[in-house]
Each structure stands twice: as C-alpha cells, then as structure tokens.
C-alpha cells in the first residue's frame, strides 16, 4: 500500500467574488521515499493541494469539498484536530515558498527549531538544544551554536530556508511537502537548497512532494511528475518519460518555457500565450482550450478525463500508480506527437486550432458566481 494516496481531492475557496474551484479531483499515489514533482503555473492549485493534505487551508474561505487523503492507512480528513497536530511536523512536514515570512520575527532561530522537538515531546532542555545545533550544522548554517540565538532578520533568505528545512526535517518525517522552496531565492542559492533537500530526504528515506512552477527545477530531481492546470492533473508520468515524450500541449508549453532549454534537450523558448482561467465555475470543456494550439472542436465542450497511456500512445491495459514503471496518464483530446512536442507547435499540414463555438460564447455568463 502506498504511503500517501490522494483520491479525488476537491478544494474550493468561497470568497465574496465567488467560489474558486482551486483543486478539482486530484488523485495520485506516493510510495515511501518516493519523490514527486507537482508542477504548474501560478494559481493552478499546487499550494491548495499541499495545505489540504495537512488540513491547513486558510479558514473560513478554503474547504476540502470532496475526496480523501489517505496517509499510512489513515484518512487524514477524518482525523481529530489533536491527532492531526500530532502528525504535523512528526510525520508530514512542509516548507513554504517565502522564507522571509515563515519564521517568526520576534523569536530566535533556536526557539523555533527547538519548538518542533519539544512539541512532540521527543527531547527537552539541553538535549533539545544539542539536537538543534546538530540540525543547523547538518543544513549548513555556519556557527550553529551562535546562530541558535540569532533572530530571523539576521539571516539571508537562503539561510532562512535552510533553517526552515532543518525545522521540517527535525523529526525525520515520512513526507515532506516543499512548496516552491527556492522561488524566492537567488538562482545561485536555488540549486544548493534543492540539493540539500534531495540529500537529506534521501538519507532519511523521506518521501517528497516538490511543488514548483518551473519544470527545470524538477528535472532530474524527482522520480515522477504531476502536471497541474486549473486544479486538474492533466498529465502524469515518470520524470524520464515526461521529458522524453510529453503528450499534453500544456506540458509541452511548460517544457518550452524553461529558461534554459538547451539543458533539457527541448528546442526553442515558446511562451504559453494567455493566462489561466479564473476558475469561478467548473469548466465546460478542457480548461486549457482557450490557450491551446492543438484544440479540436470537442475540447470546447468536453473536459477530457485523465486516462492511462502506453508507450505507443494507446490506452494501457495494466496500470501502475507509483515507482519507475508508473503508467503515463494524460487528459487530452488531441495530444502532441513526439515531433510536435519537440517543435512546440502542431505540425499537421493545414491544422488549425478549433475556434470557439459561437453558441457557447453567447450563453457563457462572464465571471458569474457559482
């Protein structure tokens, strides 16, 4: 049985401006020690997915409205708050995007690091302090003993993120959710921090969900990838498979958006035109249709389901959810071929993206609340 199984997770934010359909039936499995990249543009529901797993969605707007999060055999969504608290930090940890605000400005680094150790009654007093110093050394903070007494503002962003990693991994959790851990950092620091996470979680056998908007970040760092768009998983595969044979036009777009395309073997930089949808209503067709160069008439009216593929592109018989043999899955009516993926555009002679059906446009209430 997998360590973590997300089953049809659905998250909505009820706001004054309407209901945001942030996560729409996301499912994936994760084996112990496995690493998964959760990739997509800003607003596609990556953070909401992570927070929902820990039951930390901002209240009262954010709510899980469906699905299950099964972790080590227990449905987290039905645990009591006390059970959940015991689990957070000890079994599942999370590192946030912004290291500048994820540490309390009026408490020392030591206080905040020791808090985790003490909260779960693992250690106390001098032993906790000793372990805290050890943890800071492990994440590469110079002068660890002195740093314990420093305040967050005395550290750079990279150092703070190292502290956050020390806090997250203090109790050797079984799962780490790293939410864009390097987005706020300098490029030179980014690789170091990613390597640190990789190294430490490999040593402790911690499974990792690495959230990022940059496919370049997960290249070679995670075993599998889920590509998300508008709250849906639109393509998932092993990292090798996804880079070698991306099929979803959005994945192809993301691959061509990596700032250093030579490194990934994919051709020229082609930005994805347009912006993600508002998600105030459930999409009637494929959510990517307005931006998609491959779309056909069906795309406007039918949102494709995520279905397994085999290597030759047909639907598979036997399905594997995790590990190096994980089945490639895709939600698309008109997938890109290998040549098209490399080129970043449809190559079929005379092919043109299907125009929106006029009747649908006429009926669609613009930005109305659900």
């Amino acid at each position: 049985m997998a360590l973590l199984a997300l089953e049809d997770l659905t998250v909505r934010f009820r706001t004054r401006g309407g209901t945001v359909h942030a996560v729409n039936g996301v499912s994936f499995d994760l084996e112990a020690g496995e690493t998964l990249g959760l990739v997509g543009e800003s607003g596609c529901g990556k953070t909401a997915t992570g927070l929902a797993m820990l039951r930390l969605l901002p209240r009262p707007a954010g709510r899980v409205e469906g699905g299950r999060v099964v972790f080590a055999g227990r449905d987290l969504l039905s645990l009591s708050e006390a059970e959940m608290r015991d689990l957070r930090g000890r079994e599942i940890a999370m590192v946030f995007q912004d290291p500048m605000t994820s540490l309390n400005p009026v408490l020392t680094i030591g206080t905040q690091l020791i808090e985790t150790l003490v909260a779960h009654r693992q250690l106390r007093g001098a032993a906790a302090r000793g372990r805290a110093i050890e943890l800071l050394e492990i994440v590469g903070i110079p002068q660890a003993a002195r740093s314990l007494r420093r305040y967050p503002h005395q550290f750079s962003g990279g150092m703070r993120q190292r502290v956050m990693i020390a806090i997250a991994l203090a109790l050797a959790p079984r799962l780490l959710i790293a939410d864009e851990p390097t987005t706020a950092l300098d490029v030179t620091i980014q690789a170091q921090v990613l390597e640190l996470i990789e190294e430490l979680t490999r040593e402790s056998g911690t499974a990792v969900i690495l959230i990022t908007h940059d496919l370049g970040v997960v290249a070679g760092r995670t075993q599998r990838i889920c590509v998300m768009y508008a709250g849906f998983v639109v393509e998932t595969a092993t990292t090798r498979q996804l880079f070698a044979a991306p099929r979803h036009p959005y994945t192809v777009g993301l691959l061509h958006s990596i700032p250093r395309p030579q490194a990934t073997g994919i051709g020229e930089l082609i930005p994805i035109e347009g912006a993600p949808p508002e998600q105030l209503t459930a999409p009637s067709g494929c959510p990517f249709a307005p931006r998609c160069a491959w779309r056909i008439a069906a795309c406007w009216v039918d949102n494709p389901a995520l279905v397994p593929l085999t290597r030759d592109g047909t639907v598979a018989g036997e399905v594997v959810n995790t590990g190096p043999q994980a089945t490639h899955r895709l939600a698309c009516h008109n997938p890109a071929s290998a040549e098209e993926a490399r080129a970043g555009r449809p190559l079929r002679p005379g092919f043109e993206a299907a125009p929106p059906p006029t009747d649908i446009l006429a009926v669609q209430p613009a930005g109305s609340a659900a």
Partner: protein
C-alpha cells in the same frame, strides 16, 4: 546523519546568557534611538527624574507632607518653603514631591490592569473570530461609546470616592483601547506565514497564541502604554480634582489643586506648583511615548 564534534555542543547555560545579551543589546539600541531625538530625550530624562523622586521622596523632602504648622499658613515661596505653604501650613514643595507617588502608582495600576484585561480579550476575540469576536467587540464598543472621563466619573461615583476605587474606575474605562489594539494586531498576525509554519511543526493553538502571536504584540502594547501614562496621570488627577479620587489632605496633585482653587487670587502659587507638576509629568511621558513609538515602529514591521 552526521554527528557534530562534542566541542560544538554549547552548554545550555552559556547559550542562555548569550541570549540575554542579545535582548540587552536590542534594548540599548532602542534607548539610543529615543535619545537621538532631543524632545524624546527630554521626555526620557524627565520621566526618569519623576520616577527617582517618587522612589526617594522621603529622602528628598524638607518637611513631612502632612504635618500641620498653624503658625506658617499660606506663606509665599521662600528659601525655607520653596513652593510656599498651604492653608494648614504644610510645605507645598514636599507635598508636590510626594505627589509623584500616587500619580505614578495610579498610572502603573491603571495601565497594568487595562493592558492585561484588554490583551486577553483582544487575543481571544482576534484569534477565535466569529461569534466570540462579535460578542467581545460589541462589549468593547459599548464602553467606547461613552466619553472616557464621564464613564470613569460614573464608575468612581458608583464605587465610592477613594484613591483605590478611582484607579479601578479608570482601568474599567481604559481596557477597551487595548482590546481593540491587540485584536487588530492578532487579526493580521494570524494570517502570517509563520503561524502556518508553526502549525505545520505541530504547535497547539494555545502555543501559537501565547508563543507566536502575543510576543509580536508586545511592541505596540508597550508603545501604547507609554503614550497612555500621561493621560492616566491626568485622568487620575481629574477625578481627584472633582473629589472622586484621592481625598485631601493626601498629597495628590489633583486634590491639591482642588483645595488650592479657593486661594487662587491671593495665593496663586498654591495651585500653580501642583498644576505645573501635572503638566510636566503628562508632557514628559507623552514625549517619551512619542519617542518610543518612533524608535520602535520601523523595527517591528521588520
């Protein structure tokens, strides 16, 4: 995972001491910033002088503040009685010096009570939100709807005129400001990422409020308290002036001015000196409060 060399494992005692040094250094920088502004420096010096006088009053005064000397009634200022004497021949200079005691005591008690009650209510209202917040804020608004002095007068009159009751009465009208202040802070702090980070680390709600949110409220509370000291002194003197606070012949500034009113035309120094004392004390703490606010405000926003 690697084990660090034992030499690097600093003892808890050493770490604790250095931690305290860090705090002290922070206090020193704040004091430095207050002193950098001449007005707040004056406020700080005057406030310290007032506190010293209050502590050392018995050593400083030439006469007992309550001893009657019928032969020397209503004397004008002179080298023997620098501020003159009152209608019972008591030395006004000694009485004004002693007057620092009830004033500072009242300010401490009023603001202590008000800030503790207000902070607790503000923390609960802000953090709990929803109906609890609604209820507590309606209660707070009820208190704020009345003019403070009128409400304090009513409360003091209901409790019975005495110095102690006046302090309680003023504290009763004062806490809502702290409740509002702290609630406002909590409302914005509870959405800070570090609160989520603490939750992710497994901290309980109680721990989050007391350990993560409350310490972030200290600075605004302290600034507010330092701005309020002067007003608390003034309010206490006002209640004493209208007979609801300290009772003559207690050496309290407001009460002295109240009695001295009868002699204002022929012995103007009688009201002038306690009146000036009130003015100096209020001004000193207001200047200091402004300075503290200035010195701390850019800091606590990071």
């Amino acid at each position: 995972m690697t084990t660090p060399p034992m030499a690097q494992l600093a003892g808890p005692a050493g770490a604790e001491a250095a931690f305290r040094t860090g705090r002290r250094r922070r206090a020193v920088t704040t004091a430095g910033r207050v002193l950098a502004n001449p007005l707040s420096a004056i406020g700080l010096v005057l406030a310290l002088v007032l506190i010293l006088i209050a502590l050392a009053a018995p050593l400083l005064v030439p006469y007992d503040p309550l001893t009657i000397d019928a032969a020397n009634r209503l004397l004008p200022p002179s080298p023997t009685h620098p501020f003159g004497t009152d209608e019972a021949g008591r030395d006004i200079f000694s009485r004004v010096l002693y007057g620092t005691r009830p004033s500072l005591l009242a300010a401490t008690v009023i603001l202590g009570l008000a800030s503790v009650v207000g902070t607790v209510i503000g923390l609960v209202a802000g953090f709990r939100g929803g109906r609890v917040d609604e209820l507590l804020m309606r209660l707070t608004d009820m208190f704020l709807a009345f003019p403070a002095l009128v409400l304090a007068m009513g409360a003091a009159a209901a409790l019975g005129p005495s110095f102690f009751n006046a302090m309680i009465a003023i504290a009763i009208v004062w806490w809502p400001w702290y409740a509002r202040l702290v609630r406002g802070q909590v409302l914005h702090l509870k959405h800070e990422l570090f609160v989520d980070a603490a939750r992710v680390a497994g901290a309980s709600e109680r721990r989050i409020v007391l350990r993560h949110i409350l310490p972030n409220c200290w600075t605004p509370i302290i600034v507010q308290m330092s701005l309020d000291v002067g007003y608390a002194i003034l309010t206490m003197a006002s209640l004493s002036f209208i007979g609801l606070g300290a009772q003559p012949p207690a050496p309290e500034w407001g009460a002295m001015v109240a009695v001295g009113r009868d002699y204002i035309l022929d012995q103007p120094w009688y009201v002038a000196f306690p009146g000036m004392a009130i003015f100096v004390a209020v001004m000193a703490f207001n200047l200091l409060g402004d300075g503290l606010q200035e010195a701390l405000s850019p800091r606590w926003r990071r």
